[in-house]
Symmetry: C2
Subunit: 418 residues, 2 copies
């Protein structure tokens, strides 16, 4: 079976041909197929048995170009190979927060998985001002499990190195290298600016010495530090939630990179949500305090719970697999200081990467709806400026910002929590 | 032709069968074959046409075990594949300091190369107190060319990532991870200590909090920072010299790692030579000042020339391939500050790795002859203690040591240059 692009018409027959679908569908004659992807990179279909709508799957297929642009922007469909492998590894490490995969085909560049029919994309829910009390708990479990257990702190030397090689992701890393770490910080033709931003606003980022150096350092770290298997695109549009559950989807950007890039993606996106809700809560006719307080509390919990869980996994690993290095009277205490030092460095990375993820969403090609869909362009620009200011401070000062509370204080200085 | 271990008797016939040897040898009937390897890992043979001794090559073959131990210590012979690929890449980037390769066979795990018959191993020459005025110039050209031109500062994103994958070196990285970064710092059974060292001397390293943390951080960096194609074992036993020329040999430990590991290997080894010659020069019946001054000057030059050449290559690359990022009035000045910041970080890595390379040669399994062959065990212990003290300060203080002069001052405090 060679590669071919499936169509809505093809899909029922294709599913019927798969052994793996016989446990899912009782009948292949009444399948309803609807295309649902946001359509940037891939085709995504929702499939239901119309006679029994609980029989349902999602099918995602990669095409050999950037779908949103078309065949003129080739993008190897082998990205789906990475996505399938990353899903499988994430399921192995943290099944409660990853959709079940029923079938994956590298040849067809497609994956068939659980339809999260009672869940919605977190970004959309946050834009509408919904609160998810378990989100920080869930996402930190996911990140701690995957980041710790794919690192040298847990894997043996050979397995880790094999993983680094297996998950090399040329094309999608290149997209991040360009659109997160390069073009937003220069006068690049692909950038898209709110017309209310002035040349001064742009140069505040694009021609500032300390910022340019800090971003170059973060880019170099992104390209060189093969610490853990990252999701690689862990913004709040890659997370699906309901009141009780949280799922991480779309790991096509997965590769071995610096842990702080994933943690920073979550935190950076929530900081933008915080700024956006200075305006959005009023638009929703609410007093902004409660919702924005939840956002800040969530950001704080994301860092604190992640750090705690990560450290707990490390302690457990040392208990079950004691290293001779710490086998002396004060060794346990020294090992504790090592963990603290490691996590402090990881915090610095997290702050730096969060900052890059924020600034690029204002000046680069790809926006976040939280901010970019604010119709009042002056209000939007006001929020964009605070995002840029916070991003700039965070990336430059990442090594001296001592804790997540300090990040939140900076955010509150720019946009008071009232 | 499958893999088989060549013997002295086999070699003439084997060479005669190779097309590539017909340009080298006019006659295969009078080949003299002598085994010359130091015998740790591989078999190394020197082959000469006895009728015309200028017709000569070196043949190096890997066996599927650690030769010094025997078949009980398996070591995949695929390390030769890495060595051949690394030699080829080094020759491409810096032919003047790498022996010519005439023939390489991954299948036979062997390489046939230039016989550096008028050159000697630098360590032996330094032990005998010989001066090489061009050494710093040469080795820094080699390191700057290879480290810069295999990094993301020079290569495109895809080539770099392909190289990372291609040069993954499971077995030999594991040896470094264990014997440079782990066992010397714990009570490990493989360690070998000068009996004159006390428990206090050992615990000064093996149970010191800040040192243990610093070494763990360097190990993590070694395992995770895939910056450049390293030689991976660039001590002064991997360098051959005469008065005019310098050659780097034996890159079987080659892999993508942190640049500072190679630069630190050279500097750490020369620092040990400096300490050893406090004793050795007297043994040679000389006043120690002149030779030890040359060693310190060489260490200083190694860092300064390396940093200059590395920066020059970076400037040249920016001139021939200008990045839009720096295209604004102050951009050139900002780019300069980035380079300085990058090189300062590389200096910190260099100091930290040099320190690990020093301490492990005192407490670990593998020694350096400079120190370990000092027969007076009390004198040896005195020199070992200074090495440990300097290593400890260097690795702990690596981020605050401001320049190479400060490293030399520390060395002179421990062992005055008189």
């Amino acid at each position: 079976m060679g590669y071919r692009i499936l169509t809505i018409e093809d899909i029922p027959k294709f599913l019927g041909s798969l052994e793996e679908m016989r446990n899912i569908f009782s009948d292949f004659n009444c399948l309803e197929v609807v295309e649902v992807g946001d359509g940037n990179l891939n085709y995504v279909y929702l499939i239901k048995n119309s006679k029994n709508p609980q029989e349902t799957v999602v099918l995602k297929q990669a095409v050999p170009y950037l779908r949103v642009v078309g065949e003129s922007w080739p993008l190897k469909r082998e990205r789906m190979t990475i996505e399938i492998m990353a899903l499988q590894k994430e399921i192995e490490l943290c099944p409660e927060h990853v959709p079940e995969v029923y079938y994956g085909s590298h040849e067809m560049s497609l994956v068939i998985m659980e339809n999260l029919s009672s869940h919605k994309v977190l970004r959309g829910e946050i834009i509408q001002g919904k609160i998810f009390r378990n989100f920080a708990e869930h996402i930190t479990t996911f990140m701690a499990e995957v980041l710790f257990k794919t690192s040298d702190l847990y894997l043996d030397h050979q397995t880790k190195k094999e993983m680094v090689s297996k998950y090399i992701n040329y094309d999608l890393c290149k997209i991040t290298e360009d659109f997160v770490f390069t073009t937003p910080y220069e006068k690049h033709e692909t950038n898209v600016y709110n017309q209310e931003l002035t040349e001064e606003d742009l140069n505040f980022i694009q021609q500032d010495r300390d910022l340019k150096i800090a971003v170059a350092e973060m880019k170099y770290k992104f390209m060189n530090n093969a610490e853990s298997l990252l999701h690689g695109d862990l913004h709040i549009g890659s997370i699906m939630v309901n009141e009780n559950e949280t799922y991480v989807i779309d790991p096509e950007f997965s590769f071995y990179g610096p842990m702080g890039f994933d943690v920073g993606a979550v935190i950076g996106n929530l900081l933008m949500s915080y700024f956006s809700h200075e305006y959005r809560q009023k638009l929703l006719g609410r007093e902004p305090y409660v919702y924005r307080k939840w956002l800040l509390d969530t950001i704080e919990s994301v860092w604190i719970k992640f750090a705690e869980k990560f450290e707990t996994l490390w302690i457990e690993e040392q208990l079950s697999n004691p290293q001779l290095a710490w086998n002396y009277p004060e060794g346990e205490q020294h090992f504790k200081v090592l963990r603290e030092s490691f996590i402090a460095r990881l915090f610095s990375d997290t702050v730096g990467f969060a900052a890059c993820k924020m600034m690029r969403r204002i000046l680069g090609l790809a926006k976040v709806a939280d901010i970019a869909e604010i119709e009042d362009l002056q209000e939007r620009a006001r929020i964009e400026r605070m995002t840029l200011k916070l991003g700039k401070i965070m990336v430059i000062e990442r090594d001296s910002i001592k804790d997540i509370g300090e990040v939140l204080n900076l955010a509150k200085e720019l946009s008071p929590l009232v």
